[in-house]
């Protein structure tokens, strides 16, 4: 395992070299319609029910480049970190593959770790809350993992993990608070930077915005851009029931260690991890944090289905929602980008949405 303090752009590049045979280089999509929409001022009516009521709407010029990690293996960027963690483990002389790996997650990380472990014939133990949705349990079992159920609280999960570690000697691979996971997740931004070829004199993207839950993707992206002084990095969160913990921490200087939100962006209900916090806040590698409402997330989701024709989960579109609806962000782009505007990379983190829930989610 890499030490957290030594994480740099090189860590992300090394991660990419290691995981390239196992992951997809996902495509980057664009949409003239969404560029026009993002570059059109919001109406005073749209702003009237917000904190920006009565202000003159921002007039940014935005060209959006969508990095489609919904097309990644297992349907989310999590495959990157999981394959990287496994490849690093395999390099360690202390690691006994037969003992396996363990994690507690009910979501994309569980599937990603199970897949990565399976492809190296390493047993994977996944601790899931008893109340997990049957489709998620089935998907994890389908990757050949051994699923153990626990209560929903952190102490219950950790006790279940500890029990498995004691009996098997498995290595714990947490979903985000782990250097190899973070550098692995950063590889999506590394690809994005190389994939976007701009016709203007600007040589690279002006900024990248990613969703922020535990912060693995955002801090990895920050590392990937840490030696590109002209590419800024922003994080996006849901504001519902305080799920914008990273934003509040970022602007108050104090990490918020717990969150209890039932935001529709279910991948972003977790608090920011310690190593991500160090990268995002203490090392100042992220330039700002922005939050959006549940309605804005739903509206962005509808636009992606209607216009880009790709399947995304609610968590995936918070960056787009910020670009379209957050006036603090839009004012900043107007000021910084001027008339030429900005080329903005927008990471779609995943596409694992329950089809049964989709109808309700997309309803206007």
């Amino acid at each position: 395992m890499t030490s957290p303090q030594t994480l740099t752009l090189s860590s992300v590049k090394e991660a990419h070299a290691l995981i390239k045979p196992f992951i997809h280089q996902t495509p980057v999509l664009t949409s003239t319609y969404l560029n026009t929409l993002a570059s059109t001022p919001q109406t005073p009516e749209a702003l009237s029910a917000t904190e920006w009521s009565g202000q003159a709407p921002a007039r940014p010029t935005l060209r959006l480049h969508f990095k489609c990690e919904n097309f990644q293996r297992i349907g989310a960027f999590k495959a990157r970190g999981a394959f990287h963690a496994i490849e690093r483990l395999k390099q360690s002389p202390d690691f006994d593959p037969s003992r396996g790996v363990v994690t507690h997650s009910s979501g994309n990380h569980a599937q990603a770790l199970s897949l990565a472990a399976k492809e190296s014939s390493i047993p994977a133990y996944i601790i899931m809350p008893t109340l997990s949705t049957p489709s998620k349990i089935a998907a994890t079992l389908a990757q050949g993992a051994q699923v153990t159920f626990s209560g929903p609280t952190a102490p219950e999960r950790e006790a279940a993990a500890q029990k498995i570690i004691s009996s098997t000697g498995a290595v714990l691979i947490p979903p985000y608070d782990h250097p190899d996971i973070i550098s692995g997740q950063g590889t999506a931004a590394l690809e994005l930077l190389s994939q976007v070829v701009l016709p203007t004199t600007t040589t690279t993207l002006n900024a990248i915005i990613t969703p922020c839950g535990g912060g693995g993707l955002l801090s990895g992206t920050a590392l990937a851009c840490s030696e590109s002084p002209t590419t800024k990095v922003y994080g996006a969160e849901p504001s519902f029931q305080g799920a914008d913990d990273a934003k509040r921490g970022y602007y108050s200087g104090q990490r918020i260690p717990s969150v209890k939100s039932l935001t529709v962006a279910d991948g972003l209900r977790t608090p920011l991890g310690e190593i991500p916090w160090e990268i995002i806040y203490e090392r100042r590698l992220v330039d700002g944090m922005y939050a959006v409402t549940e309605d804005q997330i739903r509206a962005a989701m509808r636009l992606v289905y209607e216009r880009l024709k790709v399947v995304v989960e609610p968590s995936a579109v918070v960056g787009l929602a910020v670009a379209l609806y957050n006036e603090d962000f839009r004012n900043m782009v107007e000021q910084e980008g001027g008339e030429g505007g900005w080329d903005l990379g927008v990471v779609f983190s995943g596409g694992n949405v329950s089809l049964d829930a989709l109808g309700e989610l997309l309803k206007e």
Copy 2:
């Protein structure tokens, strides 16, 4: 306008050269999961309620290559034919652009023709049934078209079109029964053939299957493959309420001129056109027709959303449904493909599905 009798592979190649600046070269996607599923025999239980009940399930080997016309401009392959018809019109010395073009369609062709006309500053008159869904009317108006409403029957539509032609001198561009439309639609298959690079000794796809409504896409595809003797061409239709008119016509030797079906595949409710029939049946350029049930269409749709993470409309997936569920087709592939199996091109025709209807469509 090209004469129907002279339509060949060259017509499709010429169409492609003309429309290339206006359309997207859409991507070709693959899925290991769907290949495995297509290459797994159906269970006796799955067959028990079908016409193949009690038969031994077919054991084809299939590698599927999905041509994603849902990513095409206006979200469907119809942009190809429409841009081609407009470009051909512009070449004609008799055509006065200010008189415009007219069509009667409530669907993708209306939007496609409106877009193509708009980009050449040609007025577009669209006749839509009074009961069209508001979203379709709005989308057509958004392309700058002039919408006229008529009753739902063919004579009512034709009378409305005639009235516009009399008063404006506009040229009628029907949705499929038109040589330039057909050769334009064939360009999707032309691209598909060049995009799929196969590792085996086979130099090209063994077959392409496309949805068949009016038959523009299928007959265009047949032209595109007409000089590739190793690439067969198949059509797919819904069987519900007789929407498999092309299949019934194909096997009885008599075109069926009218259809009244409310199949969920709403783009395929039209009868096969006369020029498509000539290409598909009389010139023997299509090798077979297959039909699927409403449940099979829904199941294929769920798989596409879950596994490929792309947004498709029900009409788009009938080819995939045939490959997965139609035992006549699967037995044929088993016999023809043998152990090596087949590389099958599957055209996803479009992705214009109402988000309000999506929840119901994807329900298990």
